[in-house]
Each structure stands twice: as C-alpha cells, then as structure tokens.
Amino acid sequence: MSIPTRPVSSKVLDAAIAWQLCLDCGQGSDAEREEFAKWYAASDEHARAWMQLGMLDQRFVGTTGPARSALIRSREGVSRQMRNVGRGVAGFALALGLTLFLGDRFLPVNYWLADQRTATGEQRTIRLSDNTLIRLNTHSALDVKFDAKQRRVVLQEGEIFVETGSHEDPRPFIVETDEGQMRALGTKFLVKRRDDGTLLSVLQSAVAAHPQASDNELILREGQQMLIQRHSLGPMVAIAPGADAWMRGMLVVDNAPLKDVIAELGRYRSGYLGVASDVAQLRITGSFPLNNTDLALKALLPTLPVEIEQRTHWWVTVVASENKQTRKL
C-alpha cells in the first residue's frame, strides 16, 4: 500500500504526534487504545497522518552500528569549533584535536581535600590554596600536603604541570615522587613519572632537584630537563620540543621511535595499545591529537608502512603493512 504524501493539517499532525508519544511511552491503557482506534477511524486525514508518521522510522532502519554512533556523536565538538571561528584557529583536524580542552574545568581546591585524580584521557586544572596552578595530565594522581613549614605535593602517578603561585609565601614549594624531591624557585615546570624514574622539565626560572636516597642537589634552569632516580641524578639535557604540548591537547614528536609514540598515545586511551616488534623502531615526526587517539593512530598510516589491527576497541596493535612492504621491496 502506498502512503499518500500530501501533508495533513497542523492540528491533525499534532494529534498524531501526541498519540504516538502516548502509545510509545508503554503505558497506553486499554481505554487509551480504544480511544486511539476511534480517533484513527474517525477520518482519512487521521489515518494518513498516522501512516506518514509511521514511515519516519523507515528513514532510520539502516542506521545501525557505526552509522548510528556517528549520527549520535557527530555533533560533539561542532559548536565548540564554531566558537573558534574568527579566532583564526586554522585547520579542521587541529581544531578537532584541541576542542576537548577548551571547555576546561577549573576546580578551586582546598589543600585538605587532597587526592586529586584524573581518569584515562582526562586532563584537569586545579588551584591550590596558595594560588599555585597544577594541571594533571591523563591518568594522574596527586596528594596535596600543605603544613606550616612547607607546601608539599606528592605525585603518585602520571604527569603534572606546575605554575607556582604566591611568591610571598615563605614556605618552600616541593613536588615529591618516590625518586626525588623538586623544590620550585618561583617557576613553571613539568614532572612526569616514568618506569625508569621521574622526569623534570623546567619551563621557566629554576627548580632544585635532589634524589630521595642521596644528598646530591642540582639546580635546573629554564629549558633544561633531567631524569631523577632514587640514588642519582641523570645528565641535564635540553627539553624535548613539545614536552608541554599535551596541555594543548597534542602529542608532538620529532624523529621518535614508533614504540615511544605508541606508548605515549596508550596513556590516553583505555585498553591495550601495542606495536609489533618489526616496526617498533621506525622513526616518526609529527603532531597527533590526544583527545582522539583513533584519529592519531590513523594519522600514522600515510607516513609509515604500518596498518592498524583492531580486534576490539580495547585491543589494538600497530603492525607492518603487507601491501606497503611489498611495494617497498
């Protein structure tokens, strides 16, 4: 049976919609059903409106799986993107990568409410009672232990950016990890927990670093970086470019082994993300959005002879691409 496409009157359309909502909500009583049957039979126009409304669902029949999710998700970010228009944020992909971080939450936190945590993929900025600003990167945990003598922050896990607040506060500001202590000398710096130690990168002024199990102390100046281990301080080197790019939602790497890039991206997503050993040492330069690691992984494809093996969303491995390899040979 073909459905007449001629529109009904506004009043009839409203009635049909009201009936659909009523019957759809699952509480349609027998009395209501009877009432509906009467309404439906009362005029051709009623019946037509009802059938036309019923046809709407036909439009959505094919929209399952990826298509469904895409439709539901596609609006995320678009309005934020529009807000950037006119501010000269060039580049659609770039804007996409940054958007997540524009709607920053900014939590004022009292130091006695210690134990700050971020989930995987989350970043958050907190302000301590002395006005110090701390930004926690993905999957990080922090205890705030201020007392009369010192302002101490213990980084249990992950990575933070610190911008110390009041310079009048006489108490020293110290970041502590299992490996060492870092005393801020009025400054901005990054502290990152790694498997092999604590990485300190000084972005402004200076920080005094000393290992937990040694009296050695060294002062790092702006632009310097050092790995702190329990018994020793590593060599002072220049900060890697892009060390603080995560605060802008990007991972920036310069000629880095693929395995490092994958390990870094893995910090921002749940589940397993691995790389096959035969491609682990390939070198890569570029920047990748951290809020969308799927997109970041996809960005590897054009530049490297790799492909992405995805068993489930939670199990992803980067492997050598057969096609591209043969082409190379």
């Binding site: 529109p7 506004s10 009839v12 009201a18 759809d24 709407l56 298509a67 439709l71 060039a90």
Partner: protein
Amino acid sequence: MSSFQSPQHQLVGTLYRDHRSWLLAWLRRNVACPHRAEDLSQDTFIRLLGREQLDAPREPRAFLVQVAKGLLFDYFRRAALEQAYLNELMLIPEAEQPSLEAQQLILEDLKAIDRMLGKLSSKARAAFLYNRLDGLTHAEIAEKIGVSVPRVRQYLAQGMRQCYIALYGEPT
C-alpha cells in the same frame, strides 16, 4: 549586459569586487583546506544572489562573515559527521566493514538525516535519536540527557514534526 542586472545582482557584484579576497583570507584562517575556503567564499556570494531581498549592508564585511559562518557551520557539521563515521568504522574489523560504495551510500543517508534534524537543538536531537535508533524509553532518555520526562516528550514531538516537514512538507 549590466543593464539587465537587477539591483540585487549589482549589489552582490560590488560586494564581490570589494570584499571577496578579504573574505577568502578570513575563510582560509578558519578552514584548513584552501580549496574548501575557495568553495565557501563562492558559495557565500551565490547564497546572497539567491536571497529574495537584499539591502546594502552597513558593515559589508561583518555581513559577509555572518553569511559565511552559516555555511561554515554546515560544512563543519558535514565534515564532523563524515569523520565520526570513519572513526566508528575504524572500531570494527575490516572484514565486517561495508564496501567503499556502501560507505558512500550510508554517508549520504546520514547526511540526509542530519539535514532533516538540522533545526533541532542538540538535546532535542539527541533525545530523538536515542528514541529512534536505540529504542530508549522516555524515562531512560530523560536520565541520559539530564532533563525531565515531559521535556523529553517535547523534544520527541519536535523531532517528529521536523522529520514530517522534511518528508511531506509543511502541514496545512
């Protein structure tokens, strides 16, 4: 030739001559792809030609930006939909992915639905999609998007009306 042009065509012609390169530069700052910026600047003037009425704007550049923003929004929406679909495809095994042609057809279909829902607020849109695509009840949707059940019904009614109009035209 010009004697046959309507005042509207002349006005658009003047805007085009005086501000096209400025508008293009503005668009280039906001769109990564230079070809796309070029298209959007052309589309902006074409849209003006299609207007039933057009008065000489007091602030021509602000006016052009306003029109261009509308087009940019549509473009972002389409691009976001396409990107979202590609991202979702990445999540399923390659063997289960539809062929490239099928993907194109699905995308066209998605864009049509997206256009159909174009005027809904983002909450109304979400409510309607959860209802149609996932079959969620009114109470479940209310919980999910954080509004009352009567409000969900309002959203669903808006959605149905919107789709109805897109498919059959304005009710009489």
